[in-house]
Symmetry: C2
Subunit: 211 residues, 2 copies
């Protein structure tokens, strides 16, 4: 029998959407491997084009590999800062944009664009549906993690080709997300970039048109 | 105070992940506009790179525009079928891959890759983070819809550049998803492509590696 979702569940789901945050301030307490496996099993329930399930997960524990990722981030972040001027540059420099050092778990997410599972159904005109499927899996993992009190931060200030080498994964994979996971230092219902004045929330009616 | 998510909520959330399906069989009962607006407000709580909120939503009601989308789908689907042989082609031909005709609501989702909101933060090395943010919004909408008994189908068998013209939206936008929404004819906990034998579920441990 299909489950009946009630008002209480819908209200709590809305709370989950509001309190799911991109976390950059982690406590260093470890996460049990069984918890990571539980999150991955849920993430693999995400929708995927042609049922291709093209997501690939890499747990990064080796200290040298982690250090290479941190260096990759620092270089990309330094370059990004170099593109900004004045007050914007000063604010950017003050933001903490990744929790790579403190987060107990590093999880890199790739897509295998050559997967044969699903036989390419739904990808003929929009091959980007494969990475989009991996994004749905990341978002599923994120919500499941937050529902367990675990924070997630998505780091995209990285040279993605360099990550492939640093993690020694197949050449034809493509990086979709580099994730930090761990307990958050504090819980927030507002994006850090909103609190810091980097950008403001757009009303939904501003981004809806009718045709 | 941050909400405390409990075991009951986590179990119901897992049910939502399992029963969220890609729906292609819709009843034609209309959906109230207030419900669509409620779903869009929740979708806009999705994570976005640099808090850029780059998603753009287009409700498609005009019968001529809808007919153009159906024709676009039929052409792309015919081409996709032409790439297959034998039993695979026969199975593909039998699958119902979109519910465009019956679904009461058509919602096209675009990304504005030139948005100035967020000032490009997090996009320097991975510009694909902008469409990925729109994908997170689609997935949020999908879960919120299913929690209200509403089914969603994601149609990707379309020429995306043609969709831009058919819906008369700015040239520089990019199609991320074309969604059908409505009440599902039946509820399922298994992907239709799995039930039809198109592809099989991959065990999560097959797609996890350690480094």
């Amino acid at each position: 029998m299909p489950p009946q979702f009630d008002d209480h569940f819908r209200a709590t789901l809305a709370d989950l959407f509001v309190w799911r945050r991109d976390v950059r301030h982690f406590r260093s307490d470890p996460l049990p491997l069984s918890l990571i496996q539980e999150l991955l099993a849920l993430a693999c329930m995400a929708p995927s084009v042609g049922f291709s399930q093209p997501w690939r997960w890499v747990m990064v524990d080796d200290p040298d590999r982690r250090a290479a990722i941190v260096a990759n981030f620092k270089q990309a972040n330094h370059r990004a800062l170099g593109q900004l001027d004045g007050a914007r540059a000063a604010l950017y420099a003050r933001l903490k944009l990744a929790g790579l050092i403190e987060a107990p778990v590093h999880l890199a997410v790739f897509v295998d664009p050559k997967t044969e599972v699903g036989s390419g159904l739904g990808c003929g005109t929009m091959p980007e549906m494969l990475p989009y499927s991996a994004v749905c899996a990341v978002h599923t993992l994120w919500l499941a993690a937050r529902a367990r009190g675990i924070g997630l931060g998505w780091v995209s200030i990285l040279d993605p080709r360099q990550v492939l080498q640093e993690l020694d994964v197949p050449d034809h994979w493509r990086l979709v997300a580099y994730l930090c996971l761990g307990y958050a230092e504090d819980e927030q219902d507002q994006p850090e970039l909103e609190r810091e004045g980097w950008a403001v929330r757009q009303p939904p009616e501003n981004v809806l048109v009718q045709r």
